[in-house]
Amino acid sequence: MAMTLTQKILAAHAGLNAVEAGELIEAKLDLVLGNDVTAPPAIKVFEAAGLKTVFDPERIALVPDHFTPNKDIQSAEHCARMRRFARDKQLSHYYEQGEEGMGVEHVVLPENGLVAPGDAIIGADSHTCTYGALGAFATGVGSTDLAYAMATGKTWFRVPEAIRIQLSGQLKPGVTGKDVILHLIGQIGVDGALYQSLEFTGPGVAGLSMAERLTICNMAIEAGAKNGLFPVDDATRAYLAHYAPERVAKNDFTVYEADPDARYARTIQIDLAAIRQTVAFPHLPENTREIGSFDPIPVDQVVIGSCTNGRLEDLRLAAHWLKGRKVAKGLRLIILPGSQRVWREALKEGLFEIFTDAGAVVSAPTCGPCLGGHMGILAAGERCVSTTNRNFVGRMGHPKSEVYLAGVPVACASAVLGRVAGTDELDA
């Protein structure tokens, strides 16, 4: 029976030769993730069930990233509960602020070498789908699921069918992976891939950097997808050699391929060369428009960061477009490196000097404003261009504020020009 890439990985983790779409299976997990929002309720469930031990202290990652450094007493209590649990259960992958390996969960897990091809991963966070960029099956679940998985190392799945996204061509300068995924969500809608996998394939894959693939898979959920998935190629192997040398040395991963005759719900062709800089207007990621197709929109704040675009490559790109330029008078540019490691590398490479000269403020690694937590909340009527992934009503603050989702180049151009703008409009 021919299978998609997702189905291959799921079958292997369920101990089955084959699975088909719609089938319910129980699968073994390679990694289980929780954060400071979702882990505390899961820990409550875990303790209420009278459980004492976790299935494997090496395979659970708890990352306090949303409201950290603790923004108020309640978040401090949440983090304290998580910290106690992590210590008590001797979890190896609990990260404290300032520690190497700490940062926004979906930035740090791949950087810490915890994700490799063929893995099956769940996280009590909807953007867990990010890890599909490395050829892993990864999806978001609820807190009760997290509690169960921490205890047993297993969870149940309904096997999804897949939409095949056939990529060809190469991105034009100034156009990024973010523009690709925004374009796709604009085309199929926020429920266009409901309960399905988005499997990327085709000759265009090779030209996409790992950072771009991570950004693309990160937003699979914004099209309703269960997971996003890229095939494994030289770029994946180079990434693994750098970030997961131990797993490479032990040959501790499996590369699966979709069967050539696998059946797909549908196939969508995307010519990467035809993608333009794209912005998702309030209040849905599917409200996409290309730069140049709308009247000027003044902006109060620009945010660069998050699990979507807070990687070193994103900060380098930001430095490229901000170097020698100034943030528009009266606009706030907030840059949040995605992890402690990104922060340190950016410092070493002199990026912070470029940001500071441009008039930006650089924050500690945190989710912060992405979910309206802290470090850049919007007032009524304010507009923000953000490299994050959701622009729902009130996502970044006041219900009457507006978020425009974009890639790093558009965010920089908008910060410099004080309105939603593409890099074409920047002076050479």
Binding site: I25, A49, G50, L51, G142, Y148, L194
Partner: protein, 166 residues
Amino acid sequence: MSIQGHVFKYGANVDTDVIIPARYLNTAEPAELARHCMEDLDPSFISRVQPGDILVAGANFGCGSSREHAPVAIKASGISCVIAPSFARIFFRNAINMGLPILECTEAAEAIQNGDRVSVDFDTGRIENLTRGQTFTARPFPPFIRRIIEADGLMGTLRQLQGKGE
């Protein structure tokens, strides 16, 4: 495991906000949540529902937010099973994790009418309309999902694991 009850039938896209309105989410107490179950769609539901009754609905049942409270409220109201052509992804997960049986069966969801008496066998997936003498087959649950449902949800299976000292 099988059940029998009268049917409450609703349309497509029954969302989690009508199943349990957000204004009641300040409690996690199942009995309290049940008191407001389906309130914004069918205010008389809660006074008429009997233990064992069955919800039959149109496609995409449970769409909207990820609140686990929705299947909790339905289950605590006495409903023993929901039959629909399809369920929203997170509702599907949460329902099983909370121990609420749900069955996907387009033919049954279309043919069964409000007030019909229906029996469901979870082991075989057989749905029988006793009022009209029709039978339908949904894909049955695999054994481990049956175990979750019989243990009253994922929490229950955790407690059982614990009891066995696993």
